[in-house]
Structure formats: C-alpha cells, structure tokens
Symmetry: C2
Subunit: 431 residues, 2 copies
C-alpha cells in the first residue's frame, strides 16, 4: 500500500471538509484504490477557530513553509482562493516538484496559461475538478469520459447563489432585492455579492469548461457577461406563463467554426431537465459527437460537495504517484477545436423582449415593423392587460443575430411609443 502525503493550505470551510473526508473515508479510499491518503499538515493563518473537525495533534500550523518546504509532502491542496498568494503557493509547490490540487476557478480563469505552463515544466499533476460544478465530476467527464467526443455545446447552471435567488423569487413571488437580502442573511450570498450575481463567477467556470471542450485557453474577458442583478419578478412570471423558467446560464456553443461564449440569464423550457435544477444545485448539459446529449447534476458549492471533488483529485494524483505516471494526462492540452471566439454581435439566439408601450392603435404595427426591418422574425406576441396608458408587450422571437437585435433595440429606444428601456433576455431551447 503506497502512502500519499497531503498538505492542505487554507483551513476554511472547504479545507475543513477535505480534512474531514480524508479522516472519515481514508480507509475506504485505501481499500478501493490501493493508495493510502495521509493528511500530513494543514496551514492557515487562523489556527484557533474551531472548524468542527477533530485533527490529530500537531497537524495545524500557521507556517505555510511547513507544507511547501516539507519534502515528505507529495500533494499540496490549495484552498486559499483568490489570485495573489494562492498563485504564489501553487508556483512554489510546482518548483518543489509537488502535485497540486486546487478549487480556485478565479485563478485558473485568469492565469490558467501560466499555472498550466508551470505544471508542465515541473512534470507534476494539477487537479482542478472542484473549480467547476462543486461535487459534479464534470472536469473528469470532459477530459476523460468524453475524451473521444467532439463537443458541440455546453450549457450550464454554474452558480448556486444565483440559482438559489431565482428559485426563491419564482417560488415566493418575491423581488430580487428582497431575496438577495434573505440569501445574504442565510449565508447563501456574500456581503458583496457582485462576483456571483453579476455573472463573473459563472464566467470563470465557463472559461474553464470552454477551454477543455474546445482546446484553447479562453479568458473570461472574451465572454459577453450579464448577471441577474435587478431581474424583475414580472419577467419570471411572464416567462412562466409562456412555459419557460429563467436561469443564469453559461452558454458555450460551436457555431460557424468558432465558439460562442456567453453568460446571461435566459429563458429555458420549464419542462427541460435544466429547468428542474433548483436552489443551490448546478447542472451542465453537454452535447457531443458521438455521445449525443448528456447532463451532470449536483451541488455546485459548499463544504462537502467541494471536498468530494478535491479528494477525487487527490486520489487521481495519488494513483499517478503510486504508479510512476505523473503527467499521464496533462492538466490542459491545447488542441484544435475551433478558430477562436465568435464576436458577441455575431452570436445567434432566440430572444424574449418586454416593452412598455403606449396602449393605442398602431403601436404593435410600428414595433413589428422595426423588427422586420432588422431581419428579426417574431414567434409570439402577448400584450398584457394593465390599468394604465402604458402596457407591457412581451415578444418572443425566432433565432436572430445579436447585432440585428441591438439595432432593433436602438431604434425602439428612440420612439415616444416605447415608455421604458426594453428588457431583453435570451431563450435557450434545451431538451
């Protein structure tokens, strides 16, 4: 039985979960895999807070050097987060020839190329299953389970906080602001929720998935990103009446030899599988050739689910150490999948549009004319009744080009018959 010695940097929520899992399931892991994971050290600046895990004495230290400079430690687990010291720790670990496991999506999305290059140079493995989709083994599915497939599209619900907010808004007919406050009080949203609700966390994860699927390291800046901040309950309800549910999606699709990369709230069919992903859960729909449609679902964050993914990476890396095959499957290997990112203006999708229009003759004809002039074909129109001179008009379109839609919107915005800024959402027709 080969022992694999593990050092954890960062003893916060996830760090405690990883330690707990290794201590509780260590014997089971050894029996299953033939390697014995040994928790050899945990470093954190805070060595006093009780994390609810009973550690063997002498394991916890404030000195990160006792992990990084310890020649006995094989695998360094980076759970500090962020893009500054975390990167330094990872690069130091590689220089010391150690394998690295991380859950740090922000770091990979921003500095992936640098981190992967360091891994390759050192010959060590880098595991990052926990960076996307929490406990869902989606990185493994893309790198290995679908290794023989040409990926055509991925559509994911990748942020538990946003999905929790959207689920509660719908279930409780409540406003975005009310539910955001409740989510913050319940610990499901950060005091500064921007990273989640403005879509950046989803974009970080989408960049990783897109890179694995299409073989070129994409950066979040290449992505059109919209979050759910200020989404109106009204639109959730109108969407529901039309058979749709609104979710914050990462949409990654091959189109015309390029890749569409978008993060935005979108209407998806209520009856679709992704439409049934509620609360803090995540799911990723992957369409490949030859596999067809597949979907992966689980908890997208939290102590335990994330720990499961980190420990799976530890085991994978430990097997490579035990069998002398480090670098068996490099952390990221560029491959020819496509010819770059399709400009946002060239992306195509169906659209949901809500206009506040004057309730008088000729307005609908005028608006229909604007769409027609922009090459946009209308699929359905619903004029809602209202007790005012201004009424909501909900339009669903057939597939159209983003640039054409923006042209139509610019035209509409200048019209006196259109009272407020139009609300524009995309529609993704999923099975």
């Amino acid at each position: 039985m080969k022992q694999v010695k593990i050092g954890i940097i960062g003893f916060g929520t996830v760090g405690a979960g990883v330690a707990d899992c290794l201590l509780k399931n260590g014997a089971l892991i050894a029996a299953r895999t033939g390697i014995e994971p040994v928790l050899a050290g945990i470093a954190d600046l805070d060595v006093t807070t009780d994390r609810g895990v009973k550690l063997p004495p002498g394991l916890l230290t404030a000195d990160v050097g006792r992990i990084l400079d310890n020649p006995e430690i094989d695998i360094v687990v980076e759970l500090v987060g962020g893009t500054t010291v975390a990167k330094d720790f990872i690069l130091r670990a590689f220089r010391a020839g150690k394998t690295v496991v991380t859950a740090n999506k922000a770091l990979l999305a921003k500095c992936g190329a640098e981190v992967f290059a360091a891994a390759e140079k050192s010959g060590a493995d880098l595991g990052y299953e926990a960076s996307v989709g929490g406990g869902i083994p989606i990185i493994k599915a893309l790198r290995e389970g679908l290794a023989g497939d040409r990926i055509r599209s991925l559509v994911g619900i990748l942020n538990g906080t946003c999905n929790y907010i959207l689920t509660r808004m719908e279930n409780e007919s409540a406003s975005f602001d009310d539910i955001l406050q409740a989510a913050q009080a319940a610990g499901y949203a950060e005091a500064n929720p921007a990273l989640d609700i403005d879509g950046f966390d989803t974009a970080h994860k989408a960049a990783i998935l897109a890179s694995l699927a299409f073989g070129e390291w994409f950066r979040p800046e290449q992505m059109a990103v919209e979050g759910i901040r200020g989404l109106a309950l009204q639109d959730i309800q109108y969407a529901a009446a039309l058979g749709y549910r609104i979710k914050l999606l990462a949409v990654i699709k091959e189109a015309e030899g390029k890749v569409q990369l978008r993060v935005h709230p979108a209407l998806i069919p209520t009856r679709s599988l992704l439409g049934h992903v509620s609360g803090v859960f995540n799911a990723i729909f992957v369409r490949g050739e030859p596999v067809g449609d597949t979907l992966y679902y689980g908890r997208g964050a939290g102590r335990d689910a994330t720990a499961s993914a980190v420990v799976a990476d530890i085991i994978d890396a430990g097997l490579n150490l035990a069998h002398g095959c480090r670098g068996r499957l490099p952390a990221f290997r560029p491959h020819t999948g496509c010819a770059g990112v399709l400009p946002a203006s060239e992306c195509r999708s169906r659209y949901y549009l809500r206009l506040q229009v004057s309730d008088r003759p000729g307005v609908l004809a005028l608006i229909a004319g604007v769409f027609g002039d922009s090459n946009i074909s209308i699929a359905s129109v619903t004029q809602k009744e209202a007790d005012s001179a201004v009424v909501p008009l909900v339009i669903l379109t057939h597939e159209a080009r983003e640039a054409d839609m923006q042209k139509a919107l610019a035209d509409l915005r200048g019209r006196p018959e259109v009272a407020e800024k139009p609300i524009l959402l995309r529609i993704e027709d999923l099975p």
Copy 2:
C-alpha cells in the same frame, strides 16, 4: 506520440460506431491526449454487410485470430455480446497480455469475478464503461469521480427500451401491448423483448453499479427483479393524478448495514429529475457522502452513445499503456462497504396499491383494518368512481416492510370483497 493499436471483435451496430468514432475523431483524440489510436483490425463472421463505415482496405477479417494472435494489437474491444464466445475471446486476450474493453453487461454480471481475476492475473486493464448507461460516464464517476465518497444510494433508469415504452404509454394513453408492438416495429424493442421488459437487463447493470459502489461482486440472482410486462395504463394514469410517473428503476440502497438490491417499476415524483427522463434516455441518481446528491443523464444505448463510452475506455487504457502504468486502477477491487444483501422481505419502501373492491359499506374499513393489522400506515386513499359494482381503490402507504406488505396482500386476496389480484407498485421519493 505513442500509437495504440486497436482490434475490434464484432462489427455490428456498436462495432461500426466505434470504428467510425476512431476514424472521425482520431486526430482530435491524439491532440487532446497525446496518444494516437490506430484501428488495426476488425473481426466479424459477417464481412459483407455494409455497416455504413468506410474502412481502410484489409482491416476487416472473418478470422478472430488475426486480432487475438496479432502481437501488434494492444487493445482488444469485445463487442460480440453474450456469455459464451465473448468470454473465450476476452480470456484469450488476457492470456496474450492484451488490454480489453467491453460493453458486455450480461457477461460481467454473470461472470464478473472470473473475468476480473483473469484481468488481474494478466496485469492488463479491463474497461467496461459502455456496459451501463450507454454514453453516460457513470462507471468513471463511481470509480474515480466519487472515489472519496461513501455511496449511500443509487437509483437508475437503466433500460432505454422500457423507458421508451413507458413514455409512449403515458403520452399516447396506450396499452403496454400496443406500444410494445410499435416499439418492436420501430426497432426500439427486440423480437424477444424478455431481457428488457422483464427487468433482467436492468438487473445486470444494477449488479455492476452496486458492486462498484459497495465493494463486493453482487450477482443478479441476489436481486429482487420485476419488469414492466403487462403494466396497466390505468396505473400510469392514477399515478399521474397523484403527482407520480412510473419508471422501471434499479434501486440500490444501503440499509441497516446491508444493501437493498431491487429492480421494479416504481412511482417517482413527476417533478423529480428522474421523472423527466423520457424515451430511450437513461439516468442514474447517486447519493454519496460527502458529495450529496448527483445525477448523470444520457443516451442509454445505441451505436453512437455506446461508441463514445468504448472509445473513452480505449483512451484510458491507451494512456496507461503509453505511460507504463497498466493496472493503475484495477477493473474491480473488493472493499468493505457493507455486510451483504438485505433479504427482499426486509426491504422497506412506500407502496402504491390498486384493489378492485365491492362498492358497498364497510369495505374501506375492512381493508384499512387489514393494513393496520400488518403494521402498515396508509398515507392516502382514492376511491375512483365506476359504473359497476366493483370500483378501483388506490392506496398509497407510508414506508413499510416488504414482508408486512406481502402478509397484508395475502390476507386481502382471500377476501370476497377484493375482486381481482391487487396491483402492487413501489414508490421512490426522489428529489
């Protein structure tokens, strides 16, 4: 770039799919993984039927020896099926030191111990991702993605033919016999459909999943198996009215230190994720610790989805060959998960029961009394209106022991007030 030479035995539907995938995506696979899969030979008794794949000349042979005795071939892909010659081919391949990839669930379920022992003795790898869930990488998820998790339960829709029949019965309000005939005509059901509709195919797959999850090689004979043959449309409709959908499930659950192993049709909540798995698709719900609830969805059978799984196994095995780490993760490794199978009579679940009873005073009290005497608590009762002296009575129970339910049924069967054999189905409450 390490070349990996592949020989396929069996050039039927799946064999053609695998060849097609290797030919079409070979360059992509090489770029992604650093190994170049080379199709070196295909053996089939039938070398004349056009399989729709343009093979390089000289590849197809009727002589299986040109695969098994060819020292150049690294990986033998067994796609013959069945438990006779297929086993001989696999054992011969192992004796020749070759890696084996197979989609043969019947063989693994029946002779898994023997096949795994041969793999271990030879030191070669054995891949069997395609044996369960078609293109869904569920074997990889259990062996690797959740390698650090203690599995608590698996519930799966594992047979596409049954799910197709049940979906069409519900959508078209049609009888089992009518849809079975239509499915046979459309090629979705075999001329002899027993393996599928009587639950044995699901049992084979369930045995493999249970073994991986709980670390002991279970045999299908240890499982209580009921299929969907003759399922009444009436019960699908009554279930729908109560908020349930009927699916053929494999239920694998830890209970009282043992494992429940059951295959049967069951009511699951219409709003659950598994409830939305329609047509020929499969899905597996896995609950583990620490990961929590996860789900994996995709096409459960067919040329292309199965080919995706076979090719993923080829790549995995090829990486082990290229990096000199054959046996990195043995095909099956016994581990202490539980203390054997819980006897069917001790299994617990909720129940759906339909009785045809006399429409007169006192009957409901009598039946309620029978249940009470057997320690079964009733959750709901619906008496359907009917134009006859005999009316359907639909009862949902709280969780009860199978032995208690069978005792109550035996009691009811003897009563003159109960007109026909009661219909008994289980209920699985899934998220």
